[in-house]
Amino acid sequence: EADIYQTPRYLVIGTGKKITLECSQTMGHDKMYWYQQDPGMELHLIHYSYGVNSTEKGDLSSESTVSRIRTEHFPLTLESARPSHTSQYLCASSESGGRGRTEAFFGQGTRLTVV
């Protein structure tokens, strides 16, 4: 069982609201990731972090922002939610480097609906 947690699991929110999706892991992993997944589509990387105070944008452009103030915590924020942000958001973490140590562990995801 992976020790990575996302809250909330489901969120329905009105347009224009600010939201923060929480992600925490207790495995001490340096690397953390946010993926966006739409039905029938591949997971797209939107943000990643190699450690505290490190954040980078991923392949898919996103209006969301992230922060990494603590190793275990990697929240994602949308300042003003729009219907186009409706999607599933998956958080993941992995150890740094080393052969056989790059397996990623995933949270259960947050399914966001913006109405």
Binding site: A2, G40, L45, L90, S94, T102, A104, F106
Partner: protein, 112 residues
């Protein structure tokens, strides 16, 4: 650009049938390959992974995958599926930034 292609969007099988899900990748460097599974309502879990060595990799729950470098393929197989294998299966390659690059996934439905 690195990419992963999964050939089948939805596969429907009867119990005890054999399974093969296709996966091709485009990546010129050293490849690290993965198959993840997502059971209904659950998080993505690692089925198996390939980093080096024996190209035939055995994973959990009777799954295996074969890395064929010349074909840029990493197909997932299981000789006899069960109803409990109903899930979505994702092939992934480790990208240059250390992140996973996923295919679109294959939904497997196993009829009892």
């Amino acid at each position: 650009a690195q990419s992963v292609s999964q050939h089948n969007h939805h596969v429907i099988l009867s119990e005890a049938a054999s399974l093969e899900l296709g996966c091709n990748y485009s990546y010129g460097g050293t490849v690290n390959l993965f198959w993840y599974v997502q059971y209904p309502g659950q998080h993505l879990q690692l089925l198996l992974k390939y980093f080096s060595g024996d190209p035939l990799v055995k994973g959990i729950k009777g799954f295996e995958a074969e890395f064929i470098k010349s074909k840029f393929s990493f197909n997932l197989r299981k000789p006899s599926v069960q109803w409990s294998d109903t899930a979505e299966y994702f092939c992934a390659v480790l990208g240059s930034q250390g992140n996973l690059i996923f295919g679109k996934g294959t939904k497997l439905s196993v009829k009892p």
